[in-house]
């Protein structure tokens, strides 16, 4: 009797888990076909000498040796890090400022929220095209307003700053909306208590807002840093092949694109991608380790 009962139960459990598998199958299959399989392929290619039409020969670590010896590669690393330094701190600071302002009781708050979020809705290519016109040395509105000829797009020392300005502008609304959600979760009672105790606005921000919003801030930081390391489309649109500032603007992903699809050297390109994945992994691990020091999960 007891025996049949357990077998019934286990049969039931089996059926249950079977259904579970079927339910998650579309996602899992999608992940395997669209993410895992290409990733493994890239890994294999990074150890191969590639030829046209998908042919390749395994060659060991040759691509990596070549990559580490290439000054272009190190330059691309620096360019990418420089881009992150320019965009991430300023971008997140501004996003937080915007979020705090949008959280305050001001007139037309919803309209402002929509306006700040707009850049996120526009296609990155269109964004880059418009900014490119505005930054044009000869006819651009920015140089006209400055009454000064700055080579925004072609000066090797300026191009990254130009790209950073556009990147920050594009991302600010999205980050602000995420942070705003975080801000709205903070209970009003903290602020009431603080003001009763005579805390200034700044003290309230530092002692209440910042710690309470830190989990959201952490998520935003991770996402922003990842997408900054992977920056490609913006630079591709801004910097054409004939631009003398090309080497100063070439990010890791742009280097990967040029090697893989322009030069046709997919092996080398794959090695650059694997390196970038490792870099992102490392940065993320460091962040998760560092979060213990500043992120507050207690409500």
């Amino acid at each position: 009797m007891a025996n049949t009962k357990t077998s019934m139960a286990s049969k039931h459990a089996r059926e249950e888990s079977m259904w579970g598998y079927i339910m998650v199958a579309p996602t899992i299959i999608g992940l395997i076909v669209l993410n895992l399989y290409p990733f493994l392929n890239t890994l294999v290619l990074s150890f191969s000498k590639t030829k046209p039409f998908g042919l390749y020969e395994l060659r060991g670590i040759q691509n990596y040796v070549k990559m580490f010896q290439s000054p272009e590669f190190w330059r691309a690393n620096w360019n990418t890090i420089y881009f992150c330094i320019l965009t991430v701190p300023i971008g997140i600071f501004l996003a937080l400022a915007v979020a705090v302002m949008l959280n305050a009781k001001i007139k037309g708050r919803t309209a402002f929220r929509a306006i700040f979020f707009l850049p996120m809705v526009v296609a990155p290519a269109a964004v880059a095209m418009v900014w490119k016109w505005m930054f044009n040395t000869e006819y651009g509105i920015i140089n006209t307003l400055l009454a000064h000829k700055v080579n925004w797009v072609t000066d090797p020392n300026v191009i990254m700053i130009t790209c950073a300005i556009i990147a920050i502008w594009s991302a600010i609304g999205y980050d602000a909306v995420l942070l705003l959600a975080g801000l709205q979760n903070i209970s009003k009672s903290y602020y009431e208590a603080a003001s009763l105790d005579g805390a200034t606005k700044w003290q309230q921000f530092r002692m209440i807002t910042l710690p309470m919003v830190s989990p959201t801030l952490f998520v935003v930081l991770i996402m922003r840093l990842m997408s900054s390391i992977k920056v490609y489309d913006l630079i591709y649109m801004m910097v054409e092949e004939s631009n003398p500032a090309l080497t100063s603007a070439q990010s890791l992903m742009y280097l990967f694109y040029r090697e893989s699809f322009v030069t046709g050297n997919r092996g080398f390109g794959s090695a650059v991608v694997i390196w970038t994945v490792a870099l992102i992994g490392l940065v993320t691990v460091v962040q998760f380790w560092g979060q213990k020091k500043w992120v507050n999960y207690e409500v």
Binding site: K49, P52, K66, N136, E138, S242, P244, A245, T247
Partner: protein, 432 residues
């Protein structure tokens, strides 16, 4: 319960299978006709190509040809992916930049014997040596039917020349005249003179061959950037940006010479003849203000007579493993026939590769109030040089561009830069 589960599994697997097979295409379809696809990259030539297809299908009603346009930037990525999965379009344009790669890897059908039933010497009888050079694989076999041929010409602004009191460029013009006229135009109007930017086919290649130098040696194995003639021509060409009347490379990175020319900022630039018709259509306000001349010649060539222009040409190709190869071959045969080439010329798409039909293209320009002297583009075929190419071009092309930009931005001296370029070309084919 069991039935339900079964149904779920079947639905799931069926939907997956459908996803996998949705991309494959059929040759002969329900209407009993053979459907062919024809892939091109230039939207301006779509109508011309459609007319050729219509002429063919009028005679062969059991064939339907669909012209598809993919932009140049996506064309090669797409075609390579199609080649890997054996799904290439039935007919497609092939470019000299890429033909060696496709031909040498066996992706293109060998069309050397296409016209053997008509004449064993059909190709040689009707197409120039340059055209035939553009359809050959590394083994010398033909992997395409010549489509068109082009030259690079000098485009100039008549109004600015008049304002400066300079005679229009003619076939006696030399590099010295180019500089002199540029200076005079600049002094008189404040507009730029000849706009020398860092382009190969529409720039320094022409000057190098005029000087008697070369980009690749005769056997295409090595670069020519260690030859004095090439070095001199490069120094001359790059040095043009030092004059006040020529914008620098920073300017060109944001404003192409064509844009500058048609917004009346500069008086001269090198243009490919294939863009002229579109420019007539796109800038109606400029009609009558500009014209076309042959390229100025080198006054002191190391060899040759100082004249040269780069000539390239496309061809029609098909996959080596196509399902409808026999029918496609018949279509290609028509594309390369006098009739097919004449339709192309008359549509204004491009100068037909077929010798003797050049005038069909020239006549297209008679539709405008001001008739451009496009005959000059045709005249230059007498001394045209085949566009530079070898199998490793995709590898060295980007390296050469990078090095050239470093010369322009003074990271390299010209001598250092040219050494880097020479090295890049020589080592591009090394199997490491």
């Amino acid at each position: 319960m069991k039935a339900l589960k079964k149904a779920a599994v079947i639905t799931l697997s069926a939907s997956l299978a459908m996803g996998l097979t949705a991309c494959s295409s059929g040759g002969t379809s329900r209407d009993g006709k053979t459907h062919l696809t024809f892939q091109i990259w230039d939207v301006a030539q779509r109508d011309g190509m459609q007319k050729i297809c219509d002429a063919y299908t009028a005679k062969n009603p059991d064939v339907v040809i669909e012209v598809q346009v993919t932009s140049w930037s996506e064309y090669w990525t797409k075609l390579e992916a199609a080649a890997i999965s054996n799904q290439m379009p039935d007919i497609f344009w092939m470019h000299t930049n890429e033909i060696l790669k496709y031909a040498d890897y066996g992706k293109l059908a060998d069309l050397t014997e296409l016209y053997d039933d008509e004449s064993k010497t059909y190709y040689a009888d009707h197409f120039s040596e340059t055209s035939l050079g553009n359809i050959q694989g590394s083994n010398g076999r033909y992997y395409g039917v010549p489509k068109d041929k082009d030259t690079v010409c000098l485009v100039y602004n008549k109004e600015m020349f008049d304002a400066a009191g300079v005679a229009y460029p003619d076939e006696n013009w030399t590099w010295d005249d180019l500089i002199e006229a540029s200076q005079k135009v600049y002094d008189a109007t404040g507009k730029y003179g000849y706009m020398a930017y860092g382009d190969d086919q529409l720039g320094y290649w022409n000057f190098v061959y005029q000087k008697g130098g070369c980009i690749l040696t005769e056997d295409k194995e090595r670069g020519g950037f260690d030859q004095p003639a090439t070095i001199d021509a490069m120094k001359f060409y790059i040095g043009l940006q030092d004059y006040d009347w020529c914008p620098d490379q920073n300017y060109f990175a944001e404003t192409s010479p064509g844009t500058a020319f048609f917004s009346e900022q500069g008086s001269m630039f090198l243009e490919g003849n294939w863009n002229l018709l579109a420019e007539m259509n796109n800038y109606p306000d400029m009609i009558g203000k500009w014209d076309v001349a042959v390229l100025p010649k080198c006054p002191d060539p190391v060899s040759g007579d100082g004249r040269a222009t780069i000539s390239n040409g496309l061809c029609y190709s098909t996959s080596a493993t196509g399902k409808n190869l026999e029918i496609v071959k018949d279509v290609l045969k028509f594309f390369g026939s006098e009739e097919g080439q004449r339709i192309q010329g008359e549509s204004g798409a491009a100068i037909p590769a077929y010798e003797g039909l050049e005038q069909t293209w020239v006549k297209v320009f008679e539709q405008f109030d001001y008739v451009l002297d496009v005959q000059k583009c045709v005249d230059m075929f007498d001394y045209a040089v085949q566009s530079v190419n070898n199998a490793d071009r995709p590898v060295w092309k980007t390296q050469v561009t990078d090095a050239l930009l470093k010369i322009y931005s003074d990271t390299y001296t010209i001598d250092e830069g040219l050494k880097v370029i020479q090295e890049a070309i020589n080592t591009a084919g090394d199997d490491d």
